[in-house]
Symmetry: C2
Subunit: 243 residues, 2 copies
């Protein structure tokens, strides 16, 4: 499914607040007449977009999937679009079966902002050095503890209760013209706000306030107090999920 995150308070179902998951779940309950509990590949935060989010849930055996898709889209409104509804194996789970997630982060590096892109790209006025940012990518490749680049999860009560080790398989920046820079990052999974923290850090490298080699140093420190200023959510897209 695709959605424009600008109008929602994130994905996670949250009573009384309009979230993507909340709207979707209510729509499925209405259309398929069942008590759907959703599993989602990437729990996007408030303001984050998705190009190809994947969600799984149980549906009645006799459900007409085409009718479900059309009905759910009609109820969810134009900012959410369910592209496809298919039957999967019994043990498939959108979250736990995912092998990797691919996010893209879009930056517009021009002197003036573009009114048509302000809701989907982070406008950075200061000139950025793309080669420096590309060098910084080396520092996060592979399997590492990303504590320094992750917000403390809301459900943690003081102590680290689960691993912050994530395996980054791809991380690179490229220039698509007209001052548009795109960061591609693929990992087995992501901690909370990890992409936005990494992008925030790399923009500091691009403006020469930090050196590319510091990326590795900060990562190895495993120190949450080093968490850089987060890049804003509206430049971030959950792009693809691999199974």
């Amino acid at each position: 499914m695709t959605y424009n995150g600008a109008t929602f308070h994130g994905f996670a179902v949250n009573d009384g607040i309009e979230t993507v998951g909340g709207l979707l779940q209510d729509a499925i309950v209405t259309v398929a007449r069942c008590n759907a509990t959703l599993s989602v590949a990437g729990r996007t935060d408030r303001g984050v977009h998705a190009r190809a989010q994947v969600v799984s849930c149980d549906l009645p055996e006799d459900a007409d999937l085409d009718r479900v898709r059309i009905g759910v889209n009609a109820l969810c409104g134009p900012h959410i679009s369910v592209r496809e509804v298919v039957w999967v194996a019994d043990d498939f789970d959108a979250r736990y079966s995912a092998k990797w997630r691919h996010y893209k982060y879009f930056v517009l590096n021009t002197p003036t902002p573009d009114p048509m892109l302000i809701d989907r790209m982070w406008h950075v006025r200061e000139p950025l050095s793309l080669p420096m940012m590309q060098l910084a990518c080396d520092g996060i490749m592979g399997s590492n503890d990303f504590t320094s680049f992750c917000k403390k999860p809301a459900d943690m009560s003081g102590t680290l209760t689960y691993s912050m080790i994530r395996n980054v398989m791809k991380a690179d920046w490229h220039d698509t013209g007209d001052g548009q820079l795109v960061f591609d990052i693929r990992a087995n999974a992501f901690c909370h706000q990890m992409v936005r923290a990494i992008v925030g850090f790399m923009i500091e490298v691009g403006t020469h306030r930090r050196k590319p080699a510091e990326t590795r140093e900060v990562l190895l420190a495993k120190d949450r107090t080093l968490l850089p200023k987060l890049a804003p959510p509206h430049g971030l897209f959950l792009w693809e999920v691999g199974y």
Copy 2:
């Protein structure tokens, strides 16, 4: 200048209503301390976007144009961006000196809408025949009376007080992939809602409800009662103005 038309009630200055021209004029008055009266190349309607609108006005001789641009952009907010402010010849007028206007109209022809494009493309679910729409373009080429494709101007009191003859120099559709269709039209000038009326008509041709040859018939009839259903404003962009 560029603007996202979604948040404004069109360009024309209109007391008490937020318009692009109103915001811009107020900002110029504040920043340049003068009584600016704007002349504009294309008076876009409510909801219509502009990629390269051109506006002219008088400024004090000692105005610092860089300061004007930065100050005006700061006051107008992120949905408006003044790209460049330059001195022009005394007899230059953004509206009357323009030799041609180029508009683009964007259509998304897919079974499901795209949440990231709903504010900038008209989503048409029914499959469209691009060759039919391209044939229809022939019918509007050249210098013609566009009464059949123009809304009666608000300032007309019953009688036709000015010419509806416009010279269309370019009109074609192309497919840019992923179901995205773009209509390019260039003319010396446009009557009120002319592009949206033409696109509305051509979509009827694309769905086989009308024949391409009817385009010329409707045009030659010079009959406002034949005005087709207008395409919605959010797919329309003032793209370029020639001087």
